[in-house]
């Protein structure tokens, strides 16, 4: 197991280097705005642009740029500086991470707490009105555009522009450390929006998976043992049915930690997603590179965690 984890981590690092290299390549190959010109502003003299290009290292061959970038990360843990604000990418990311973390973790709790019980109840009450209603609603949530859902919630329930003044609206986010209560209330609507789709997907997934599990022989065995139905469902059925959910949960959380652009924009939460999006628009390559790398790290780590937790969830799985 330990060697497996070490091997996975090493592969993960290789993967991250590849992702970085690809990001470099994308910016080089595809037509995008010239960062030096953007940085210099219009009307700037060719000398100024050349100077900026030199200062940013853009006049070097792409592989040299890449090697320097990698050196900076590995030797100095330096992810470069924004072309615009000159702020260090690392500081920008660490500045934005708490918001993204809050958004993701809270949403994950919401979608697990809603998706899992709904999935279980639907599976157990399969075919009933309850099941059909729940699955119908889930379908609506799955197909609802996040942007629209977010705006609708704001127009309905935010305490500034809403029809019913209930929850804090857009731009109300505050850090957990500055005010836990405001932090919590400001994130209620974003959590609902971000969790909505996932809750629906998870409930449908778990329902299917649990229906399948409840048809297994070991469920019959559990019942034949005289176990209470609740225990049969939870300890025997859900225990098996949850594994695919854990897989996508790990990947979803990993992906969301890389930033949820739309939700962050609609609710004006300064997270990683918005940082990345703005950087793409500005051709602020160091930030794009940093956030892409960060997202890749989260996904790689999430994958490793999923695989390891799989070994704990399913004792038949063994890695070597």
């Amino acid at each position: 197991m330990t060697t497996y984890i070490i091997r996975r981590i090493l592969w993960g690092i290789v993967l991250l280097i590849l992702v970085s290299a690809l990001t470099f390549l994308f910016f080089d190959v595809f037509p995008s705005a010239d960062p030096a010109i953007l940085r210099a502003g219009r009307n700037s003299s060719p000398a100024t642009i050349a100077h900026i290009r030199h200062e940013l290292g853009l006049d070097q061959p792409i592989y040299t740029q890449f090697v320097n970038y990698m050196k900076g990360i590995i030797l100095h843990f330096n992810f470069g500086y924004s072309y615009y604000s000159g702020a260090s990418v690392l500081s920008l990311i660490t500045n934005r991470l708490p918001a993204t973390l809050s958004l993701t973790v809270g949403a994950a709790v919401v979608w697990l707490l809603s998706g899992i019980p709904i999935g279980i109840i639907s599976a157990i009450r399969r075919g009933t009105l309850l099941d059909r209603t729940a699955m119908g609603v889930a379908l609506v949530f799955v197909s609802m555009p996040v942007f629209w859902f977010g705006i609708m919630l704001l127009f309905l329930f935010s305490n500034d522009i809403g029809r019913y003044h209930i929850f804090p609206g857009a731009a109300s986010y505050v850090g957990l450390t500055s005010s836990p209560v405001d932090w919590f209330t400001s994130l209620i609507l974003p959590w609902i929006v971000l969790a909505g789709t996932s809750a629906a997907i998870y409930s449908r997934l778990l329902r299917g998976s649990l229906i399948e599990a409840m048809g297994e022989d070991y469920i019959r065995t559990a019942r034949a043992k005289g176990l209470a139905e609740r225990r049969v469902v939870w300890r025997h059925g859900v225990r098996s049915a949850i594994t695919p959910v854990v897989t996508i949960f790990g990947l979803d959380v990993g992906t969301l930690l890389g930033g949820a652009v739309i939700t962050e924009t609609v609710f004006d939460i300064p997270g990683i997603g918005r940082l990345n999006w703005q950087a793409i628009i500005n051709a602020d390559f160091p930030i794009v590179q940093g956030t892409v790398l960060l997202a890749a790290i989260f996904i790689v780590v999430a994958n490793i965690i999923v695989d390891i937790s799989y070994a704990y969830l399913d004792p038949r799985v063994r890695y070597s």
Binding site: P31, S32, A33, D34, I37, L38, R39, A40, G41, R42, N43, S44, S45, P46, A47, T48, I49, H51, I52, E55, L56, S82, Y83, Y84, S85, G86, A87, S91, L92, N95, R96, F147, I151, L154, F155, D160, I161, G169, A170, A171, E264, T265, V266, F267, D268, I269, P270, R274, L275, Q278, I281, A283
Partner: protein, 616 residues
């Protein structure tokens, strides 16, 4: 001279306003009730804020104190007056800095002394040597914010300007108004031996006097250019070490102020992570060293919280329905409609937010022929473009290049523009177009050549619709076209701004003045010698000797009235030459909360002036 990024972003927001504008289609007819405004042809054609249009707006605020909340979906680019070149940035810079001269919010054309004590003229001895020397006296009683604290001297202004030539600062307009590219460069800047550092053409005989020397009579232009943020003083001892970084960390890490407000900072003047959270927020607090007696800015509110980000529709609603708030960037079309219908006292429209035009390659391809250019102009449905841009509230069909609010607009014909047959009908006139195609040598009135017209435009917001309209004008005349849509920055940096790419038509380029002087609208965009191989702004590659000569002459006119007339003549020449096809004159919509007495600054695209806005 600014490329019109802001306006584009502004108009880009949504697609709803066309509907909104149609719903209030009678707006131009009832606009006459809009209160006493300026001259006939320059008068606004749209209903402005009830009883208080920005031209005649009250500058006296309602209440002193309070916190103004500013919503902006986009962030500032630079807080450093030396680096900034963006309308959004200027809004913050104007509240935190004291350039030598400034425009009061209700004037787009007349500067007044700011850090300077008096406006230099020939009669008061400020302009001497036939307009080759400009002498400015500055106030002795303006101080830097902490941690510098000391009084501003003329050397601080000299340093602020000279660092514009430092590549680490990379001021975008330094070359055009002060350096080698200026009609009248400051002495020394055009010599090859000058590699930055103190500018020989700037002298500071004493702590309150700064003198600008030129070889040509450029004082008329320079005086206006000194209203740009670059003339705001900076303490060399504090800033110079930061300027050694590339890019400089002044503005991103550290900042000091001379204006009524300062970005909240720690004891060392560091702002990042304190009053400046890139992409998140900016906090402006009162500058403790600012004295109201030295400034014409009333600075009513105590604090300004800028909240960056969010969806344009949401923040617009927050502004309209909330309190103490203004939206800094352009409201979404949906919200413009909503505000216009339901919150009429909370929306203003200011003229002169820039223009867009179709740049046609004057040097090569089918549009080398002036009559072919005139033909496309005649065929173009500019009314449709206005509609696509958001309707008559935010745009007017353009007839020439100097746009409303820029001096020379009236002299060049006002809204109707110079009298030529191909700009007369805003919806296009195929008969006229055919006439010019025939004059261009196409007997059938249709293009019969083999060339394919290369069209490159921006792919966001309303721009694709504009490309469509322009494209159909060209194809209706028989041109075969190939359209490429890319993001706006790429359009400029890889296609339209690179002459050797041979792009025949760029239908979504735009321009915003730097200040009200017509040179800042026409010079970089149509002056032949200004053509450069990359990062070019003369997208149509206009290089007509007669026009170039006229511009050279007009650039050096010192008297304001004569200057306006001279540039109006250049404008007429450009129209006659159909150097490009003006599409629309933009108006800037602005929204505010009910309890905000907002003041718009007319000279800067018409957005809010923080230092004049107050709470009710």
């Amino acid at each position: 001279m600014r490329r019109s990024t802001r306006s584009l972003a502004a108009f880009a927001a949504t697609g709803l306003l066309a509907v909104g504008a149609a719903a209030c289609g009678s707006s131009s007819s009832n606009s006459s009730s809009g209160g006493g405004s300026s001259s006939a042809s320059g008068s606004p054609k749209i209903p402005l804020k009830a009883g208080e249009n920005p031209v005649g707006q009250q500058l006296t605020g309602k209440k002193k104190g309070g916190t103004l909340k500013v919503y902006s979906s986009g962030d500032f680019e630079h807080l450093d007056p030396g680096q900034s070149y963006y309308a959004l940035d200027y809004a913050l810079i104007q509240a935190t800095n004291r350039p030598l001269f400034s425009y009061p919010p209700n004037s787009a054309t007349t500067v007044r002394p700011d850090l300077a004590t008096v406006l230099p003229t020939t009669s008061n001895g400020g302009i001497t040597n036939g307009g080759k020397t400009l002498t400015v006296h500055i106030r002795p009683d303006v101080h830097f914010s902490p941690p510098v604290n000391r009084a501003v001297t003329s050397a601080d202004v000299a340093y602020a300007i000279e660092r514009g030539g430092n590549p680490n600062v990379g001021n975008a307009y330094f070359p055009a108004y002060f350096g080698a590219g200026a009609p009248a460069p400051l002495l020394g800047t055009s010599s090859k031996s000058w590699k930055g550092g103190p500018i020989p053409g700037i002298t500071t005989p004493n702590k309150t006097t700064i003198v600008f020397h030129m070889a040509k009579p450029g004082a008329g232009l320079l005086l206006q250019a000194l209203s740009l943020p670059i003339s705001a003083p900076l303490p060399q001892s504090f800033v110079a070490p930061l300027d050694k970084h590339s890019p400089t960390t002044y503005g991103s890490q550290y900042l000091v102020a001379t204006g009524p407000y300062m970005v909240q900072a720690d004891k060392t003047g560091k702002i990042q992570g304190i009053g400046y959270q890139p992409g998140k927020s900016e906090t402006l607090v009162r500058n403790p060293n600012w004295k109201a007696s030295t400034d014409f800015r009333p600075a009513y509110v105590d604090r300004i919280n800028v909240n960056v980000g969010g969806d344009a529709t949401v923040i617009g609603q927050q502004t309209l329905k909330g309190s103490n708030a203004i939206q800094l960037d352009t409201p979404s079309q949906a919200n413009v409609k909503l505000a216009y219908q339901q919150y009429p006292s909370q929306i203003t429209f200011t003229q002169g937010s820039g223009d867009h035009y179709v740049a046609l390659d004057n040097q090569a391809g089918p549009f080398k022929n002036v009559n072919a250019r005139r033909a496309v102009w005649a065929a173009l449905d500019r009314a449709a473009i206005v509609k696509a841009r958001g309707g008559s509230l935010v745009a007017e069909p353009a007839t020439h290049f100097i746009y409303p609010g820029v001096s020379g607009f009236v002299q060049a014909g006002g809204y109707p523009g110079p009298q030529v047959d191909f700009n007369k009908n805003p919806s296009g006139n195929m008969a006229v177009a055919t006439k010019y195609m025939k004059l261009a040598g196409y007997k059938s009135g249709k293009y019969t050549g083999n060339a394919t017209v290369q069209v490159v435009g921006a792919n966001s917001g309303n721009d694709p619709a504009i490309i469509q309209i322009v494209n159909s004008a060209m194809t209706s005349l028989g041109f075969k076209t190939h359209v490429t849509e890319v993001d706006q920055a790429t359009m400029y940096s890889k296609y339209c701004g690179v002459p050797k790419q041979n792009i025949d038509a760029c239908p979504t380029v735009g321009w915003i003045r730097d200040f009200a002087d017509p040179l800042s609208v026409l010079y970089a965009t149509f002056y032949g010698p200004a053509i450069v191989p990359t990062n070019n702004s003369n997208w149509s590659q206009t290089n007509d000797p007669a026009i170039n000569a006229a511009m050279q002459k007009a650039a050096l006119v010192v008297d304001p009235t004569a200057r306006a007339q001279a540039w109006a003549n250049v404008d007429k020449m450009l129209v006659s030459d159909a150097a490009a096809i003006p599409e629309e004159f933009g108006n800037q919509p602005n929204i505010e909360s009910k309890n905000v007495a907002g003041v718009n600054q007319l000279w800067n695209e018409g957005t809010w002036d923080f230092a004049f806005t107050s709470l009710k």
